[in-house]
């Protein structure tokens, strides 16, 4: 931070804009399309998830949907706008997921779990993972998906956070067998439809989400004024050209309302589950962490029972090739955010001026990585995809994130 008493030069404040770099924008879109074509030709499934990743990145960049701020701002600002949008998105995804799961497992009480649903045993490891992740995302200033989309926008500190996340994931891998033997292997799986049927499980989940929504409103009350959401009272242009221009500006230049982002992400999640598996970003990173550590002889080796955990477990990215759907989703996320930022003229390399921020990025990243490695996922895989999978683990992780974020706020308040 630099504070000076003299006024800054006024010349730059006149709103001068560089001419729109149309060439750069067109090139960014063309490269995205070309990558999509090439990846799809190599592996159709990986190509599809690259497309989902691009959508994921565009949604996060345009709406600035940040799960870290959703939890953090409940405590820091008594602001629940983002959290309420996310709760609505989870509710929407719950309906879609339930429909899909009822197709693959018609009788939920028979004991079988739907393939790929993010349902894992319930235990202290989920709580520890959520707490660690919650503290980490607040300290680092973004969760894992937030870190990936900010890399696409040009935030250099987010690259440092990513390195921290990889370290944390590898630390989780090194302690995995202990956790597996101590708890996870014998912990109960609680899949709500197994007890309540689909209708009962959906009703309970929606009721809990509604309760969380009201609690968020309660938290926001008495917090002071809010910026009103404005309805645009603009005349619709008559020409097709004018209409197309208006739509382009609305979707690619103007930021989206946060609720639009959360709903779009929920729809994308249902598409992803329909295609194969729900969204999740850390499974691939865990595999990368292990590969990198093995190069230095620091690999964790065999992880017991890890593949029994659905979702973003530490081996989720494993395959004979690196061109997996998990990898292309993450790569698409970064590239989609990059393209969206370029289209909106918002891409810029940003370096934090205070060195302590790099420390926060590493430390927050390590805490997030450890939490995500332990609890098989991040705010996306273990929360945004887990609650709609109707597993109790999603709720437990979410509550732990909330407590962790509250602790993280106390930490950042003490870092200047």
């Amino acid at each position: 931070m630099s504070v000076s008493v003299e006024a800054a030069p006024r010349g730059a404040a006149l709103g001068w804009h560089a001419p729109p770099a149309v060439v750069v924008k067109v090139a960014a879109v063309l490269v995205a399309v070309a990558l999509l074509v090439v990846i799809t030709a190599a592996d159709a499934g990986a190509g599809l998830f690259f497309a989902f990743g691009l959508g994921f990145g565009v949604i996060l960049q345009r709406s600035r949907l940040c799960f870290a701020s959703a939890f953090r701002d409940l405590f820091l600002l008594r602001d629940g706008r983002t959290m309420r949008a996310i709760l609505v998105g989870i509710g929407l995804a719950t309906l879609g997921f339930a429909l899909l799961m009822s197709r693959s497992v018609p009788d939920p009480t028979a004991g079988a779990l739907p393939n790929q649903a993010h349902v894992i045993p319930v235990g202290w490891y989920v709580v520890v993972g959520g707490l660690s992740f919650g503290v980490g995302m607040v300290v680092a200033g973004g969760c894992v998906s937030g870190t990936l989309y900010r890399i696409g926008e040009g935030y250099v500190a987010s690259l440092v956070t990513l390195a921290g996340i990889l370290i944390g994931l590898e630390l989780a891998a090194h302690t995995w067998n202990w956790w597996w033997q101590a708890e996870i292997s014998s912990a109960p799986v609680v899949w709500l439809p197994g007890f309540l049927g689909y209708a009962g499980a959906v009703a309970l989940t929606v009721a809990l989400l509604a309760g969380a929504y009201v609690l968020t409103l309660w938290r926001e009350s008495g917090r002071g004024p809010r910026i009103p959401l404005r309805q645009k009272a603009e005349l619709e242009p008559a020409s097709v050209r004018g209409q197309v221009g208006r739509l382009y500006r609305r979707w690619f230049v103007t930021g989206w309302p946060i609720a639009t982002g959360a709903i779009a992400l929920a729809v994308l999640n249902v598409f992803a589950f329909t295609a194969d598996h729900p969204l999740g970003v850390t499974g691939e990173l865990g595999t990368w962490a292990e590969h990198l550590a093995s190069l230095g002889g620091l690999g964790a080796g065999v992880l017991q029972g890890v593949d029994k955990l659905a979702g973003c477990n530490l081996a989720a990215g494993n395959g004979s090739t690196w061109l997996t759907s998990n990898f292309t989703l993450d790569a698409g996320l970064v590239f989609g955010a990059f393209v969206a930022a370029v289209l909106a003229s918002e891409f810029k390399l940003r370096f934090p001026r205070q060195h302590v921020r790099y420390g926060q990025s590493v430390a927050g990243g390590v805490l997030m990585g450890y939490g995500a490695g332990l609890a098989a996922g991040c705010t996306i895989g273990a929360f945004f995809s887990a609650i709609p999978s109707l597993g109790l683990n999603g709720w437990l992780f979410g509550l732990s994130l909330l407590l962790g974020a509250a602790g993280g706020v106390q930490i950042i308040k003490r870092i200047p």
């Binding site: 931070m1 804009h17 600002l77 103007t254 930021g255 001026r353």
Partner: protein, 98 residues
């Protein structure tokens, strides 16, 4: 003369926290200018500023960079909704959603 707070390179929640810290130290009719390149700060700073009785103007200051002018405005504390309404209009002009 306005104090200048340069929080370029900082991400949430620091631009907002530092702006609030500075606003609380201002004396009399002193105003504050905040430089940021973090778009989310455009909705958090004015909001917190309004609570403290400051109105906000936003100017584009080059590529993905904005200059916020925070000035004491009696009406901000009396009728924050009017101040925020004007601001919301401005954010829309600039193509930055709430």
């Amino acid at each position: 003369m306005a104090r200048v707070l340069d929080v370029r390179g900082e991400i949430c929640p620091y631009p907002m926290m530092k702006a609030v810290e500075q606003l609380k130290q201002l004396k009399g009719d002193e105003s504050l200018e905040v430089l940021t390149d973090h778009a989310p700060a455009l909705s958090t700073i004015p909001w917190e500023a309004a609570k403290l009785g400051y109105a906000t103007t936003i100017e584009v200051n080059g590529r993905a960079e904005w200059r916020l002018g925070l000035t004491r405005d009696a009406s901000a504390s009396r009728d924050p909704s009017a101040v925020l309404e004007r601001l919301s209009e401005r954010l829309e002009q600039l193509g930055v959603a709430e």
